[in-house]
């Protein structure tokens, strides 16, 4: 075979590869859905009414947690990663926690359905296996955190990593399931080493999560899903959306969003209490929504 023929053939194959990749790009809808579902959490962040009944000078707020005592495990709170640690006490932490569980499952179902529907229309199918595994695996990690969290209440203060340490630990917590999910599509899953990595990764994620993750569990799971989607799609724009969503999620987990908004000049008055209470979800949701819409328009323009 002549070398110039090889060059032409390689160019042709690279062109085919790019066309197939573009033809199967479908991330705009999952990104829009994740953005809308994230922003849809805002009403559930309504702070509890701190005013006392008329004629009463001082009163204590009724504690509305979602945990319960389990003998031998301490306080188990299945929803703590979704609703604990907020700036203001919430009017209904149970509703917020259930909302996040529901939308994670709805987002998963919608994404899988969408890619299958799109495959029939476009004739080329993107695998969603890794996306399904990271979302369902993430929910199992959340369950593990709830079970371990009660046991770790006594020792958690000794694992205070500091601001940067918490940020790094949160990033590691997110990277573990994403890395394992990406590998789950490869031949390596048949090896013993992958099975060991799965057990170690799950255990480490649960322990880290019990110490460093609070209130951003829903954002974390959506971020993991978007990162895996960016990998599956091999799309730079999808990667930008995923990294943006992840970045703000990590900042929210270390309670930096209030400082960020203050530095950006946003100082809301009391009429925006619910919106400010939901400050952690605003930027991630906006990035996913806008990124998805940009991808939709870019896809239409390209055609």
């Amino acid at each position: 075979m002549a070398e110039p023929d090889a060059a032409g053939l390689l160019d042709e194959l690279n062109s085919l590869r790019r066309r197939a990749r573009i033809a199967r790009h479908g991330y705009w809808l999952p990104s829009v859905v994740i953005g809308l579902l994230t922003l849809g959490a805002i009403p559930f962040y309504r702070p509890v009414d701190e005013s006392c009944p008329p004629g009463v000078r001082s009163c204590s707020l009724p504690y509305r947690g979602t945990g319960f005592d389990v003998p031998g495990l301490g306080k188990v709170d299945l929803l703590r990663v979704f609703n604990s640690g907020n700036l203001f006490p919430l009017a209904s932490p149970l509703a917020l926690g259930l909302y996040w569980v529901l939308v994670l499952l709805v987002g998963l179902g919608a994404t899988v359905w969408w890619y299958r529907w799109r495959a029939v229309r476009a004739g080329v199918e993107t695998s969603t296996g890794a996306y399904v595994r990271v979302t369902l695996g993430g929910l199992v990690v959340v369950l593990g955190i709830a079970l371990v969290g009660g046991l770790m209440t006594e020792i958690a203060p000794y694992f205070h990593f500091g601001y940067e340490g918490n940020l790094l630990a949160s990033a590691v917590f997110l990277a573990l399931p994403v890395g394992l999910a990406i590998l789950s599509d490869k031949e390596v899953t048949r090896t013993r080493w992958y099975r060991i990595a799965l057990i170690v990764g799950f255990s480490l994620a649960v322990l880290l999560g019990a110490v460093v993750v609070n209130k951003t569990g829903g954002l974390m799971l959506f971020a993991a899903g978007l990162l895996v989607l960016a990998w599956l799609e091999r799309s730079p724009l999808c990667a930008v959306v995923a990294l943006g969503y992840t970045g703000f999620t990590l900042l929210a987990n270390v309670s930096y969003m209030g400082t960020l908004y203050y530095r950006l000049g946003w100082r809301p008055d009391s009429r925006l209490d619910t919106v400010f209470s939901a400050k952690d979800v605003l930027l991630p949701g906006a990035i996913a929504l806008v990124g998805g819409l940009v991808a939709l328009v870019a896809g239409r323009v390209r055609r």
Binding site: E3, L16, R19, A119, V120
Partner: protein, 102 residues
């Protein structure tokens, strides 16, 4: 004396349309027959023949089914197909590098 890069080329894989089939299928979970036909600009008979050669060699899998009443044929690359494609790409790049060295 080092072997010429063309010695690494596999006759089953090293055919323009079959390389095209492997390249497209390697980019997706599976690809529909109609998409391959239009992308590679092949007649149905021609495409079938090339897909059969690859299927017999264990480099692709073919699933036939229906979407409603419409028959559909899906082609997906196997692990062996990915390895064969990777080897072919390495051999082609080695050919180009050899040309560039002259």
């Amino acid at each position: 004396m080092s072997e010429h890069p063309t010695a690494e080329l596999d006759d089953v894989v090293h055919q323009r349309h079959r390389l095209g089939i492997l390249t497209v299928t390697s980019e997706a979970k599976r690809v529909e027959f109609g998409y391959l036909k239009s992308t590679l600009d092949l007649t149905p008979g021609n495409l079938s023949r090339h897909v059969s050669v690859l299927e017999v060699a264990g480099l692709v899998c073919v699933e036939k089914g229906y979407e409603g009443k419409r028959p559909r044929t899906w082609v997906s690359i196997t692990a062996a197909g990915r390895k064969a494609l990777a080897r072919e790409m390495v051999a082609l790049r080695a050919l180009l590098d050899r040309h560039d060295e002259r």
